[in-house]
């Protein structure tokens, strides 16, 4: 969102600069103003490209999210463990549960922009196609006063490629287009025009050809289409069109036609063509649009205006001045800062206060750290663009770790922390087998001590709109332990078992996770399956918990 804005603002600034220059130069020649506007349009077109190469520019708009492996482990020794020679600890392991942002305005905006571009581009393409089909039906003029005048004027303007004159079947169509093979389309009654008008009209059209006005106008149309939402660009595009016509008007006057005479021709043409229905055609034309007629006529009648074409030196100087301002604008990268916010929950959906949330800026090596408040909310403001790793940690829970990329967009992340994993290591030496500890059993678990009124009573009273605060873990304690027996005649080895302790405290699932000798694995499994734990309580509700057991037969 911020990037789109930045993009639009930069182009606005560059285009506004061209418009401003055109306004300041209102006493200079139209050709100069046209050149300024062309340069500013070109700079606007180049702005996205310049922004691409600038180091501060970072691409796409939406955040990439890639999960990563867990990093660190957290020790939580259970009280009873040392007595039976077992270290029980909770190991962190990452699990990512993040909810996507509900509504992404950026995607919608891009969609709207794209739709606008398609609509405008279609308009332009239809116009070009219409021009082509009219030209296909038109006949080429090979002789007559038009051809003679065209030959003479082409020599005068120094045009190398001959301009094709086409005679259309339409009453009000007088346009010029084409870059490599320029064409002038004449209206149906062109043959009956008097010589003065033929000369004036052709001089104007050939001036367009000489000045490459058509291709410049198509380029400016493309800029306008890409920035269709930007009124400044529309303003600049129409001003560019006006200045190109005025520059050609000036070129005709420079041939020796008096301003008054030329203004009369303009008014006549406007009167004659105004009656006919105007079709939008992407081409340049002498015939004034109603909105421009007055300005062009007044400009013709004003004898004090400069009508000089732009000299090469003036072109270079103005271009250099404009680019000197436009390029820094395009390259200027404002640091956009994003906000990362969200909520942290345990697996029961209760919020977790006091969770340390750290966003580490991997490029700048800056750590931004904050704790969740009483409602489990966190907010980190002012994150510059770049790659981040986001971590959330709370004792007893698995660490959360996620890679994020910020590109100026705000990111909302709701994170669920899973309960940690138990870790146990047992050493078994060959020798007489040990009795189960404690003898007897199985044992009754301690009551879930969550307050006088039973498990749920300790939960804070629910207020309207209040959040349920979680994070209360009762560590499981082993009630019944059976030591594995060293199998006779077996070699030493290590067995790793992944265990799930059910909510009832009994071992639910066991799985050997390494490649251990079968005799050792069987002995270890036989022992582990008999173990009984107090259930692990999360917010006074028994939950299953994972446990990794390492049995070292030595």
């Amino acid at each position: 969102m911020n990037l789109l804005l930045e993009f639009a603002i930069k182009i606005s600034l560059v285009v506004a600069l061209g418009l401003l220059a055109a306004s300041v130069l209102h006493r200079r020649s139209a050709a100069l103003r046209h050149w300024m506007l062309t340069a500013s349009m070109a700079a606007a077109l180049a702005t996205p490209l310049l922004m691409q190469v600038a180091p501060a520019w970072r691409l796409p708009v939406s955040a990439n999210v890639a999960p990563v492996d867990h990093v660190s482990a957290r020790e939580l020794t259970s009280g009873r463990a040392p007595r039976i020679g077992i270290t029980t600890s909770v190991e962190a392991e990452s699990r990512i549960v993040s909810s996507p942002t509900a509504f992404d305005p950026t995607a919608t905006l891009i969609g709207i922009w794209f739709a606008g571009v398609v609509a405008n581009l279609t308009g332009l393409l239809i116009g070009l196609w219409r021009l082509r089909s009219i030209a296909a039906r038109a006949t080429i003029v090979h002789e007559g006063p038009w051809v003679n005048a065209a030959r003479e004027l082409s020599d005068h303007f120094g045009l190398r490629t001959p301009t094709t004159l086409l005679q259309s079947d339409r009453p009000a169509l007088l346009v010029t287009w084409g870059f490599f093979a320029p064409k002038v389309m004449l209206p149906v009654d062109a043959a009956s025009w008097d010589e003065d008008r033929i000369r004036v009209v052709l001089a104007h059209e050939l001036a367009h050809v000489r000045r490459h006005d058509w291709i410049i106008q198509i380029g400016s149309e493309l800029v306008r289409i890409a920035n269709w939402f930007n009124p400044l660009v529309w303003l600049a595009a129409s001003r560019l069109r006006l200045e190109s016509e005025r520059a050609c008007d000036d070129a005709v006057v420079n041939l020796g036609v008096s301003g008054r005479e030329y203004a009369e021709h303009l008014l006549d043409l406007a009167r004659q063509f105004g009656r006919a229905r105007q079709v939008p055609i992407p081409a340049v034309a002498i015939v004034p649009r109603p909105s421009n007629l007055e300005r062009r006529v007044i400009a013709m009648l004003n004898a004090r205006l400069s009508r000089h074409p732009v000299s090469g030196a003036a072109r270079l100087a103005t271009l250099a001045a404009l680019l000197a301002v436009a390029i820094p604008i395009a390259l200027f990268a404002q640091n956009t800062f994003a906000t990362l916010s969200g909520r942290i929950l345990d697996q029961s959906g209760a919020v977790l206060p006091g969770v340390v949330v750290v966003a580490t800026d991997r490029d700048r090596r800056v750590k931004h750290e904050v704790r969740t408040d009483g409602t489990g909310q966190f907010e980190i403001v002012g994150l510059p663009q770049g790659g981040y790793s986001l971590q959330a940690s709370l004792p007893g829970f698995q660490n959360f770790d996620e890679q994020l990329t910020f590109s100026g967009e705000n990111i909302q992340r709701d994170i669920t922390l899973s309960i940690g994993t138990l870790q146990e290591t047992i050493s078994v030496t060959s020798g007489p087998s040990k009795a189960p500890f404690p003898p007897g059993g199985p044992y009754k678990p301690r009551p879930a001590n969550c307050g006088p009124g039973g498990p749920r009573a300790a939960a804070p009273p629910q207020r309207d709109g209040a959040v349920r605060v979680g994070g209360q873990i009762r560590q499981p304690t082993k009630l019944y332990h059976v030591a594995p027996v060293y199998p006779d005649g077996s070699s030493a080895g290590v067995v790793r078992i992944s265990v799930v302790i059910g909510p009832d405290g009994y071992v639910q699932e066991t799985q050997v996770t390494n490649d251990a000798p079968p005799a050792l694995a069987q002995s270890a499994l036989d022992a582990v399956r008999q173990w009984v734990f107090e259930p692990t309580l999360l917010n006074c509700v028994a939950v299953p918990v994972k446990m990794n057991v390492t049995v070292d037969f030595s």
């Binding site: 209102h26 303003l235 001003r239 750590k367 931004h368 904050v370």
Partner: protein, 235 residues
């Protein structure tokens, strides 16, 4: 209507929206040097946002420079911390301005606690023998990195002569705290009692502490003064 005027208005509007879209974020940058003026790399610089309770942490680079950007308006505590040096604290109010702070970290102070037991039967403790001072062995210079002189090499002083205070006869128990300065020659330059202790105890404690000798404290191979706080517990 004058088209120039329209253009100007539009231009102004465009630039002002540009200004509005920029939020007020501060940039805090600077360099950290030790008291000899040499750059300190690896200093942990923390901006604690007291308004929001968040902290922003960065380490100084090889040239002792740090930069934190995107600091929102608010009141901050800036901290710079490096082991061996005293922690630097400063309160800052940020409201979108860019701040530059060049911080000098002072070398840390020594702390020593001596217990003197009132035992009339024990022989008075003799002064320890004097160890030979360590040579100022700095090894080959690590060289400059990018022109900045890298500092932060501290050789911690070692006591080479210790004199135990003597328990004054018939004096009640008490604690004497002394603020001392070890000079560049390793001798105790100044020793001032900082608490309200009985005269007999302070005399005994000062008398002993003034006779202590140390290897000079070296900062980047140059001897510097270092502060020492001594607590003598007579009981």
């Amino acid at each position: 209507m004058n088209s120039r005027l329209i253009t100007l208005v539009i231009l102004l509007a465009a630039t002002s929206t540009y200004g509005l879209s920029a939020q007020r974020f501060s940039r805090l940058s600077g360099s950290i040097v030790d008291q000899s003026g040499a750059a300190l790399p690896g200093v942990t610089v923390v901006a604690n946002d007291r308004t929001r309770g968040s902290r922003h942490e960065v380490s100084t680079d090889r040239n002792g420079r740090f930069e934190l950007i995107g600091l929102v308006e608010g009141s901050y505590v800036l901290e710079a911390d490096l082991p061996g040096f005293e922690t630097f604290h400063e309160n800052l109010a940020l409201n979108g301005q860019d701040l530059s702070r060049d911080i000098t970290l002072q070398i840390g102070s020594l702390e020593e606690t001596v217990t003197v037991i009132n035992d009339p039967n024990a022989a008075p403790a003799a002064p320890s023998e004097r160890y030979a001072p360590l040579p100022a062995d700095c090894g080959p210079s690590t060289g400059d990195a990018g022109g900045a002189r890298i500092g932060g090499q501290i050789r911690v002083p070692r006591k080479i002569r210790h004199v135990a205070p003597i328990y004054p006869q018939a004096s009640p128990a008490g604690i004497v705290t002394i603020d001392a300065v070890i000079g560049t020659d390793g001798f105790v330059k100044e020793a001032n009692v900082t608490n309200d202790a009985p005269d007999a105890l302070t005399r005994s404690a000062i008398n002993a502490v003034r006779q202590w000798e140390f290897d000079p404290t070296l900062l980047n191979c140059e001897a510097v003064d270092v502060r020492m706080s001594v607590t003598v517990d007579f009981r």
